[in-house]
């Protein structure tokens, strides 16, 4: 049994996997939106908001931002609970898009997109009055979307830098600068990696290979477990060495592809064995 399955390969419908997926998106989405101090924007000097307003018109009066944040969290929790899924998922997605646009005026929190896409897909595939979709399709589409994101990330390195991206100097310089900016200097554990050209080249090649491999494996319906674990390891290493953390935001999405049905089946069997027969 692998930790992550490709729903384009294992196409068997699983109500449990879809339910767990819904709860994860709703719960993590609510957590992320509540952790974020949107209300503080109301006190920012007006001219700063104006100066940096990339998406000007959509911002609207700052007084409603806080209310919008609570509404988004409420919608996400209702979605997690399976209440009016079509309505709550659509509303939550649109609110997150607006909050994200507001945020983009001053900051760069594009990770909200990770929650917006699955919400839109769940809204589209859940019938009126249902709590979950009646097909495994939403999980398939969500995985394709995330594979596209990785593929673009990998491809952009090749098209914009080419071979020079893989030289040990690039990764070493990137780590040195980011660690200085985000971690107050290079942690001692990182120095093992920095002092070894061979490891740096391997890490660079592995990064682009993993990023490009996922979409291929997904589309040819091959197992994705190894590549997903590799990508997760990449995120952990980036977080530790550079202080840029995709582990939790993308980690939530990874959880959608854990074979919950199979795990619960195995647990049930094991539990039965342990229970003494009367």
């Amino acid at each position: 049994m692998t930790i992550f399955v490709n729903p384009l390969r294992e196409t068997k419908y699983s109500a449990l996997n879809l339910t767990v997926g819904r709860v994860i998106i709703g719960a993590f989405g609510a957590w992320i939106v509540l952790s974020y101090d949107f209300g503080a924007l109301a006190d920012w000097p007006e001219f700063i908001m104006r100066q940096h307003r990339l998406y000007g018109g959509v911002v609207g009066p700052m007084a409603v931002i806080q209310a919008e944040q609570w509404a988004a969290a409420a919608m996400l929790l209702a979605f997690a609970a399976g209440w009016q899924v079509r309505v709550t998922a659509t509303t939550a997605a649109l609110l997150l898009i607006h909050l994200g646009a507001v945020n983009m005026t001053v900051s760069n929190w594009k990770v909200l997109a990770f929650f917006i896409y699955p919400l839109l897909i769940f809204a589209l595939y859940t019938a009126r009055g249902d709590r979950i979709p009646r097909t495994i399709r939403p999980l398939q589409i969500t995985l394709v979307m995330f594979a596209i994101i990785y593929a673009i990330t990998g491809l952009s390195k090749l098209t914009r830098s080419g071979v020079s991206w893989f030289g040990p100097g690039n990764l070493r310089g990137t780590i040195l600068v980011n660690a200085t900016q985000h971690l107050d200097g290079v942690p001692r554990t990182t120095e093992v990696l920095l002092s070894n050209d061979f490891l740096l080249i391997i890490a660079s090649v592995a990064t682009v290979t993993l990023e490009l491999a996922l979409i291929v494996l997904v589309l040819i319906r091959a197992p994705i477990g190894t590549v997903m674990v590799g990508l997760l390891a990449m995120h952990v290493i980036i977080a530790v060495t550079m202080g840029i953390n995709y582990v939790f935001s993308l980690g939530a999405i990874y959880l959608l592809f854990v074979p919950w049905e199979e795990i619960s089946g195995q647990l049930r069997r094991r539990f039965k064995k342990l229970t003494p027969r009367s």
Binding site: K110, Y125, K157
Partner: protein, 196 residues
């Protein structure tokens, strides 16, 4: 409003309307297919052209080779006895470290002096408030881990520090050695100071 903003407003409004209509008519297979196809298409176009139009970021992450020299701005505050501390991004929530650096750079290259001073006063007020919150340990609830790390203040940092009254912006220059094997120099230059 600039033209680009109006276009964006129009596009995002259209996106919201199309989404609501698509969900309402989602029982038809063709609607689902067209909507999903468009989403995937927009993601691919944003990625290939490198043009980010929210909610479709370009996802070009670290696409270019690290240059030898990195320039950025850093905001610090000091108390009456000139004990200085770097302002962490969490004091300026909801900003993250990169936008804080960008804001500091923009503020002191494009703002008028009056606006720079207003900005400085705002940061001082925010920072003092944040310092009080750290001392009260009000920041301990389970926040979603920040996307960009950045060490916040601890009660230890704030031992014996008075309220902050000086606002400073430094230009920082990180130079890597020729073979990119270490940081050759980390220079800082004071570019703006404001005492309240």
């Amino acid at each position: 409003m600039r033209d680009g903003q109006q276009t964006y407003l129009l596009l995002i409004g259209l996106f919201a309307i199309v989404t609501v209509v698509a969900v309402a008519l989602a029982r038809h297979r063709i609607v689902r297919r067209a909507y999903v196809g468009s989403l995937l298409g927009l993601m691919v176009v944003a990625g290939i052209t490198g043009t980010a139009v929210w909610p479709f970021p370009s996802w070009h992450l670290f696409p270019t080779v690290q240059p030898r020299m990195t320039l950025y701005s850093e905001i610090r505050v000091a108390d009456a006895e000139d004990r200085e501390l770097r302002v962490p991004a969490e004091a300026l929530a909801p900003l993250e470290p990169t936008p804080v650096r960008r804001l500091a750079t923009n503020a002191f290259s494009t703002y008028t002096l009056a606006k720079q001073m207003e900005f400085a006063e705002f940061v001082l007020e925010r920072t003092n408030e944040y310092g009080r919150a750290v001392l009260d340990e009000r920041y301990r609830f389970a926040r979603f881990p920040a996307h960009q790390a950045g060490r916040g203040w601890t009660t230890d940092d704030l031992q014996e520090l008075g309220p902050f009254i000086v606002f400073r912006v430094y230009a920082i220059k990180i130079s890597l050695s020729e073979d990119f094997s270490r940081i050759q120099s980390l220079e800082e230059e004071l570019i703006f100071e404001h005492k309240s």
